[in-house]
Symmetry: C2
Subunit: 422 residues, 2 copies
């Protein structure tokens, strides 16, 4: 619910205290003007954009804003993608918690083709172990009670390595949006689920079918059939006209271009299973859930600090386990940790912006952040993650489990920022 009045007062006291250090720093933030105070120092704009029918209908971003997504894994063009088509969000340029829909990460293992669906023709079928199989048009779905919630989606393969330079490369396969749709439980209750039906299989319309098996407990809890994203229809790359949202679960469960939900009594192995999911339903649910995670987006790899002085260290935290309860930051490579400020509302299973006031003395140092979620889960160190990945279970699979380990950024004495993963 935003910053509390008392927090704000405390913050302002600290803000006032900062003034001295700002002025003292070699690179001060905010210069005293050296001309008459009545002359504005911002020049007039270089030009004016003339109003046009296009500008009226649908506005665009500034030509000076050039932040774009990049192919994940270093492939230069979609023609090279083959079946594995992943695009990473420019987190280094992010502010707040919403990812603009045009910059939301995208992942598919079914080629670089995006279904071009006429929503008038689209249908969702709910069938299998139910009393009343049902088919819905999009118009019918929109008549049902809806909810609006902030949720992240993260690819289980969002994994930092020492080869990466920027946060877009290390962490760009996660994004967050305001999702609107119907609770899946509303439709399942309408259909009448049989008592021994413990799973659902959700299927999209792709030529190579995408499908995921999801435990009934999750389906009945908070899964959403989304037609809205960031205030408009879900984008084609995100599943237009309908996407299944499975809050906090690995990205692959969030089936795009959703056309069918079958209620079943067992786990089904589907095209979406890479062997990193377990068939044991008792263990499965926990394996699906994204662990507590965070990353500093500024300063981050490839960025440049102009010099010593005051900076806001800013980043994102999230967890599949619920709300982010707390974020800690270290500026000395992990020797001492201090609480960061949570900016805005920490929504369950949503990116949460944190920030940390920092006066850089110009010496080489290492920044890290760690997330603690409302379940008390703590983001692990990289050493802990490496130890886990060395278990026989992990060694037996070609795809490792989710990497939610702490990301270290090294600030060199020249202000350049580097990935400090060894």
């Amino acid at each position: 619910m935003g910053v509390k009045k008392s927090d704000r007062r405390e913050f302002l006291k600290r803000g006032a205290a900062l003034a001295g250090s700002l002025v003292a720093a070699r690179t001060a933030v905010g210069q005293t003007p050296d001309h008459t105070e009545h002359t504005p120092v911002a020049p007039g704009p270089d030009a004016f954009l003339r109003g046009s029918d296009e500008i009226v209908a649908y506005g665009k971003r500034s030509r000076f804003v050039t932040s774009v997504r990049i192919p994940h894994g270093g492939r230069a063009s979609p023609d090279q993608f083959g079946l594995d088509f992943h695009i990473a969000t420019p987190l280094q340029d992010s502010v707040g918690v919403i990812t603009p829909s045009s910059l939301h990460y995208m992942g598919t293992t079914r080629g670089s083709f995006i279904p071009d669906i006429d929503p008038e023709k689209h249908r969702l079928m709910i069938h299998g172990m139910v009393d009343r199989p049902l088919v819905f048009t999009m118009a019918e779905l929109k008549r049902l009670p809806s909810v609006t919630r902030m949720h992240f989606i993260e690819c289980a393969g969002n994994r930092a390595s020492s080869r990466h330079t920027t946060v877009q490369e290390t962490h760009g396969m996660t994004s967050c949006a305001e999702w609107t749709g119907v609770l899946l439980s509303t439709l399942l209750k309408e259909a009448g689920v049989h008592a021994n039906a413990d799973w659902i299989v959700a299927e999209g319309v792709e030529e190579v079918k995408g499908a995921s098996s999801i435990p009934m407990a999750k389906a009945m809890d908070d899964c959403l059939l989304c037609y809205g994203m960031n205030g408009e229809p879900v984008r084609p790359q995100q599943g237009f006209p309908l996407r299944l949202l499975v809050p906090g679960f690995e990205g692959i469960f969030n089936v795009k271009w959703l056309r069918r939900i079958k209620v079943v009594d067992q786990y089904y192995m589907t095209y979406n299973d890479f062997g990193h999911l377990t068939r044991d339903p008792v263990n499965a649910a926990l394996g699906y859930q994204i662990g507590p995670k965070s990353v500093i987006t500024h300063p981050s790899g490839g960025q440049q600090l102009p010099g010593p002085g005051f900076y806001e260290v800013s980043g994102l935290a999230w967890s599949g386990g619920g709300r982010v309860a707390r974020v800690e930051v270290t500026t000395d490579g992990g020797r001492t940790w201090r609480d960061a400020d949570i900016r805005g509302t920490a929504h369950p299973m949503a990116h949460t912006r944190f920030s940390f006031e920092w006066n850089w003395d110009g010496k080489e140092c290492e920044l890290q952040s760690r997330c603690i979620d409302e379940l008390g889960q703590i983001q692990p160190s990289r050493a802990q993650a490496l130890e886990f990945w060395s278990t026989p279970e992990e060694k037996a699979t070609s795809v490792k489990g989710q990497d939610n380990s702490i990301q270290p950024w090294r600030i060199a004495s020249d202000g350049s920022v580097h990935n400090a993963i060894i």
Copy 2:
């Protein structure tokens, strides 16, 4: 903080109860499939969009999504706009609370030209009655402590009339976004405001200067210097690279392309004053604040209900006075009112989505909504607003005060929806 567990359980009980009426209704929502349950009823997509460099970089909406803004006041083309260039948001298509940046309303009284600003060259100066006049580059502003908050902006001229057909025409001059920036109070404290400085004047870079006088109490409370909007830089039509956000105040105070804030000891009449603002600082602050307001966006004027049965009545509520505390809906023209559900988090001075479960019996009726904010302010009826506008004070000005009166929509027996303002 979303729907509480207990609320959800209650909602599901009601959901289950609805099932009967859904099936009973002539136009049931969700049809039982008439083919084998193993055949998906959604056809394959008509085509696939091939991945391309452009699709990788910056995604687009579906070609089937054609929702656009329209010029306010019925002018067909920007060439006809002259100085008064206003564009309205398609609220009839809105879901959730965020307005997509491309569809955010825009208003200016300085022609249809949008400043095309290079952010590297832009400066913000804080001067006047301060100890230390300061100039900031955009890069310097981004180093300071930031906040992220959901806020609406509404034009004081967002005024429904009997001439209007759709909710875009009656209410489209309001929008809501996630704003990120520095608290103005942070900079004012840095500059050191003199004890007798009761006002600020904020100025943009337009050729015809836009400026607004704002009380110091508001400037020190929650005003934001925003560089971020919906997770990316503020759009040019919204003031790129820097906009002053004055939460809950009339739209005109939210100065775009901000270059200067002068601290002064009195109210200054500026180009932005239309005579509808009072010079008396005691009365001024309250006059500036948007009153509690709401509107049903679905069903709304120009839409068509396919037939009797269950519908979710959905709309937006907001207030300059703080959080939306409650929204009431009537389906019988105001005889009986019942509480609507708040969807998601009711943030202070932000659009808040409400919904109301409704079983339409197919008879002509009138839907209305009214907002009650956390201060206890109640959205007035149209009769109350008309009475207020008849005061000598209001009659003396050509521009009337804000219209936050209740919007009535008439549902005809054929399912067509009409503006019921007489």
